[in-house]
């Protein structure tokens, strides 16, 4: 059982490797990206190919307000993490709550849009190719928002219980990476669905 260093003492060497949390989260983001890419490709491929039914141009309304909400939440979460790094738990708590609220608003917007599409426009996932690809792409993104909100809520709960401190800034930063990813995906989905596809 060899315990001694091979050729030099540990103290002589400056050895810093990237942090596990960030690297792990980036890897997860890479894997999720590859899933989303396939749904986006399917969406783009099927643009204009529906044989029947409501078309994007007549069915969709561009959700500008709710998009602004979601994208702002990226900004607020960034401010929250910054606050925690500076040990300002109060400020962190406020910005974190803002992020949660903005994310929830976005989700509400999606729900309202779906309600309108299903009951007023008559578009469901089984109506035509547009319906199938729209609901699955936006739905997959929405699912990721839900997961993100759950995680954000857990952190919120711990904050209110007074358990979150300066040394947790690193973990919160890793979580914020996920949230930024969810926002970035929305930028792509928004562009493909509401701008290119309409």
């Amino acid at each position: 059982m060899n315990a001694s260093p091979m050729t030099m003492t540990a103290g002589e060497l400056k050895w810093e490797l990237p942090t596990r949390g960030r690297v792990g989260m980036f890897c997860l983001i890479a894997a999720e990206t590859s899933i989303f890419v396939i749904f986006v490709v399917a969406y783009i491929f099927y643009i204009g190919k529906s044989l029947t039914g409501p078309m994007p141009s007549e069915a969709l309304e561009v959700p500008i307000f709710f998009t602004i909400c979601l994208l702002s939440s990226s900004f607020t979460i960034h401010l929250a993490v910054k606050a925690l790094r500076q040990s300002d738990i109060r400020r962190f708590s406020r910005w974190w709550l803002a992020t949660l609220a903005l994310g929830a608003t976005f989700l509400y917007g999606t729900a309202r849009e779906w309600q309108r599409l299903i009951y007023e426009v008559g578009l469901t996932i089984s109506t035509n190719l547009f319906g199938t690809t729209y609901y699955s792409l936006v739905g997959l993104h929405g699912l990721h928002v839900v997961v993100g909100l759950i995680l954000l809520s857990i952190v919120m709960a711990f904050t209110w219980l007074g358990r979150v401190r300066h040394e947790h800034a690193y973990r919160v930063d890793v979580l914020s990476l996920y949230w930024h990813f969810v926002d970035a995906v929305w930028v792509v989905v928004f562009t493909v669905v509401y701008i290119i596809g309409r």
């Binding site: 091979m6 596990r20 099927y46 529906s50």
Partner: protein, 556 residues
């Protein structure tokens, strides 16, 4: 440390339940590695039985050992099992066990994720086989999926695949796919973040580099399969139209998505074989690996190129000549870095002092067989050739040559190489050689001759064939090889059992090797290293054993 009254050399025998609980709740990478490997071995036997059924059915034309329905389930289950529940777990198992040791670390970056990923994969396999009991098919009692391991649409739509057998295929792979992604995240993070001091990326063992490329491919490739399976399930249960040709959907799109996963997947399987061979050949040639930087570059190049070749599985689908030409180009291109690797292994042997121990025998088998497999691959890469040979037994022979002749041989080599480390016992060299000989004969009987029916026009996935096409004799010979392979596996299993109970103590470093895992006890302590090592070259133990001529003196 002991203040106990009785001698501490006596092992305290704990109840079986306690020991079982320890294994089920372990997060130790070594234990999880063994769980992965054991799991894979069980499914190897099951997949082997499925193959045997098929081969006996095909031994003579118009055979009626099994009905076409059963045969179609056999090849679906055989392919799915072997790829997802044998090959992947076994490479993950070795990677899990060896990586932290080779990197001078105490465990993987995320031990609990490690355990979670294993149990997900395990559950996926059980779910697939539960289909034998649980899936209600059109024909009554439960049955396994019968849509082929690549499950082309629209065969998988509700119209043509009633009942739930296809859903078992989809869900079991979805679940184990998530497990694979978890393992890949773990591997990448471990390699990037947990290396011991002094071990720059350029100084870590080649094994680690190739596992890194493999993990990267898993991250990018499993996603498309997951996406396609979600789409399929939406089609089957929510009335979606992704692959619904009557609503304008495209059957070809499934093929694209599947093969965007499927091709990198085979590189996921073969990279660890490269990794294993890159560790074993140097040790038994008594020379360091030739051309390390070029091997790294070739491995990374293969990883990138692997994402660009997928439609060579679709040459017969009627894509434009531009598309066919493009994919032919990328597929031929990937042959170049692969060839470079073969040459580098050859150069490692050259000028060395070769010891023909069992691990080395299997690696030499790998080298020879992988060369041939690569060449039949080059043949298939030429689209016009593929138009004749694609979807025939030539392709079946080619990929089994890679997976069995290449990957499985390398895995057997890994077994024999690292078994002493993992168990502390040496295996019997005689039994190991017998295993090698029997398997070599069986492999070549089966898979050399399998090329011929393909060249003579026999397509794949047929439960029987007409006499008089010239295929009969070759099918018979192919089936004959199965007996030898089966015998070899029995010898292998027997050898492992014998070695575990009767093998000589192995010591830390039975092969006089050079990477860090050989600096631990056999088996390693749960914490691997009492003090984290500091390294200065690619072969830390060589430096220790040859202080007058250490590796770090030479700029590599």
């Amino acid at each position: 440390m002991s203040t106990l009254a009785f001698p501490t050399t006596l092992p305290i025998s704990r109840p079986f339940v306690d020991r079982l609980h320890e294994w089920v709740t372990t997060v130790d990478h070594k234990r999880l590695g063994i769980l992965y490997i054991g799991y894979a071995l069980v499914f190897l036997c099951i997949g082997g039985v499925e193959a045997t059924v098929m081969r006996v059915q095909l031994m003579v034309p118009h055979n009626d050992l099994v009905s076409p329905q059963v045969f179609n389930r056999m090849f679906t289950m055989h392919g799915t099992t072997m790829i997802f529940f044998v090959a992947m777990p076994i490479v993950f198992g070795f990677a899990n066990y060896m990586l932290p040791l080779m990197l001078g670390a105490r465990d993987m970056a995320f031990p609990r994720l490690n355990a979670f990923s294993f149990w997900l994969t395990a559950f996926g396999g059980l779910l697939l086989y539960f289909s034998l009991l649980g899936a209600s098919g059109l024909y009554g009692a439960g049955n396994a999926p019968d849509v082929g391991w690549f499950a082309y649409a629209p065969l998988t739509s509700q119209t043509f695949s009633r009942g739930h057998s296809t859903d078992f295929w989809t869900l079991s792979l979805l679940v184990s796919g998530i497990g694979s992604i978890g393992t890949a995240v773990n591997i990448l993070t471990t390699i990037l973040c947990v290396r011991c001091p002094g071990m720059t990326l350029g100084k870590m063992p080649m094994f680690a580099w190739l596992i890194l490329v493999m993990a990267f491919l898993v991250l990018l490739a499993v996603g498309p399969l997951t996406a396609a399976q979600i789409m399929l399930t939406i089609d089957r249960y929510l009335g979606g139209h992704f692959f619904d040709v009557q609503a304008g959907g495209s059957a070809v799109m499934w093929m694209h998505f599947f093969w965007i996963f499927g091709h990198p997947e085979v590189y996921v399987l073969v990279m660890p074989a490269f990794a294993i061979v890159s560790e074993i050949i140097p040790v038994f040639s008594r020379k360091g690996l030739f051309g390390y930087p070029f091997m790294v570059a070739a491995g990374v190049a293969i990883g990138f190129l692997a994402m660009s070749v997928w439609a060579h599985h679709m040459f017969t689908v009627g894509m434009s000549s531009t598309a066919n030409t493009f994919f032919m180009m990328t597929t031929m291109a990937i042959g170049v870095p692969t060839g470079i690797k073969i040459f580098n292994w050859l150069a490692t042997l050259w000028g060395g002092r070769i010891h023909f121990k069992t691990p080395m025998l299997f690696c030499l088998g790998f080298l020879f067989q992988f060369l041939i497999a690569g060449l039949t691959g080059i043949m298939l890469s030429a689209a016009p050739f593929d138009w004749q040979l694609g979807n025939s037994y030539f392709v079946v022979a080619h990929f089994h040559y890679v997976i069995v002749g290449g990957i499985l041989f390398a895995v057997f080599g890994a077994f024999y190489y690292w078994f002493p480390k993992m168990s502390g016992k040496m295996f019997s060299e005689t039994l190991g050689r017998l295993h090698f000989l029997l398997f070599l004969i069986g492999f070549h009987l089966t898979f050399d001759f399998m090329h011929l029916p393909g060249l003579l026009g026999m397509p794949r996935r047929i439960y029987t064939y007409e006499p008089g096409r010239g295929w009969d004799i070759w099918n018979l010979i192919v089936t004959a090889g199965v007996a030898f392979q089966g015998a070899a596996i029995l010898v292998f299993a027997g050898g492992l059992v014998w070695a575990y109970f009767r093998g000589k103590p192995a010591g830390n470093d039975p092969w006089d090797a050079w990477t860090l895992e050989w600096a631990t006890s056999s088996p390693p302590a749960p914490y691997n290293f009492a003090a984290i090592p500091v390294v200065r070259s690619r072969r830390p133990l060589w430096d220790l054993k040859h202080p007058e001529d250490p590796d770090w003196k030479y700029d590599q």
